[in-house]
Symmetry: C2
Subunit: 247 residues, 2 copies
């Protein structure tokens, strides 16, 4: 039997034009597709006769098990993540599930990287990252809040540009407010902040504000929050962090 | 006169298949292309009758000025970066040059994000990022080394996964060694480290090692160094950072 293959595919922010060609090729070459049901419509144009397995939120382990079981039957499977497959996404849990099932070496694996939400949001804001930067997820489903607080505090101390993933959901309405308070220990109140809902996909909205004025009530689970460092500035409609060139 | 447009395009790691469709469209739509001469061959297949302006390393400001002057003539120009245009790349300096020339609003600007080197290297290693992570450039051309040291120390304290950009060049042969020593204040000697030369482009090589054994002599300016957190592990040929799922 031919060895099966799993592509852990990052489809980027969601619109067709921000996918990579490798992601398109992988999905087209697959006979099976496994993904979170909300993401499958984003790749509907690539679905021909692949068998599609739509699973719910929080069923990440089952998604990986499904992909593995198909690959162990010799099939080629795409396991879908939005953004980059290796950033708060499916690639890591896939390797863990494969190892737990003693299947390392029994299937081929290729991680297909994509444009992560932080890059997509930054592009819509201008150029807020540019320099040393930190990505932090405010979801405490898998990480104790005390660890997240420590990460926020150190990122604040270090004057890093900060990208907040998963800034809010129904289960954690206060996390973003708490994060803002931690960062205000280290950053000026007028530190520029960019808020992008649905970055680089349908329904995008972009707002530039400050750390003190951050409208936490406008932030939802489809939002990225990017917090500037002490040099970040607002130029016209854009948020820009200078890297230090002498002009 | 039609308003000119500048695309700040991230072409991703370098191979055709890891570009986004938006990057391809932007370059094809442009009548002018401005880029570092080493990157232009990476997009040779997209060049038809655009005028191509190849500039040298360290001429970042001139590249932006060239793109702006073409756009002010009503042209559509692609300003090329490798990786993501907004991460240690051309987008930021472009906005600064435009502002300095009082040209904000006089030209249209679109930042086209791409797969950044950190994501590309991670995909070739397995899934080493996955969790909260820090990107740090070891280039002190534009940032004082004392700031870089502080960033390394805080990233070490925070147990972040760390991506090192620009880990070495002729002008700074010892920086990676110094960075390793700073991280060893906080991390175990056997912390897994991934080294990827030419990630996701021709001539790729991948190595998994440890912080203590990091072969700094093998690292060059085309290399990404990814340092795991305290949970990162080696599974078969892969480097994987668990996010915390209960298996």
């Amino acid at each position: 039997m031919k060895k099966g293959k799993i592509y852990a595919v990052g489809i980027g922010p969601g619109s067709r034009e921000h996918r990579t060609l490798r992601a398109v090729e992988a999905i087209k070459e697959s006979t099976g597709i496994v993904g979170y049901k909300t993401y499958i419509p984003l790749i509907e144009d690539l679905i021909e006769d692949q068998q599609v397995h739509r699973l719910g939120m929080k069923h990440e382990v089952e998604r990986c098990e499904k992909a593995l079981s198909l690959a162990l039957q010799g099939k080629t499977v795409s396991l879908i993540s939005s953004g980059d497959a290796g950033i708060y996404a499916m690639a890591g849990i896939l390797f863990e599930v494969i190892e737990k099932n003693n299947a390392l070496g029994k299937v081929n694996i290729e991680v297909v990287s994509g444009v992560t939400a932080s890059s997509a949001a930054a592009a819509s804001l201008g150029a807020p990252i540019m320099h040393d930067h930190v990505s932090i997820s405010l979801s405490d489903l898998l990480t104790p809040w005390s660890v997240i607080e420590k990460h926020l505090d150190l990122a604040g101390q270090g004057d890093f540009v900060i990208s907040l993933y998963n800034p809010k959901s129904k289960g954690r309405p206060k996390h973003l407010q708490n994060a803002t308070e931690i960062l205000l220990r280290h950053r000026r109140k007028d530190t520029p902040v960019g808020i992008v809902i649905n970055a680089k996909r349908e329904g995008e909205s972009v707002k530039i504000t400050t750390l003190e004025a951050l409208p936490t009530e406008e932030v939802n689970m489809f939002t990225m929050v990017l917090i500037g460092n002490s040099n970040t500035k607002i130029l016209g409609d854009f948020l820009v962090t200078p890297r230090g060139y002498d002009l």
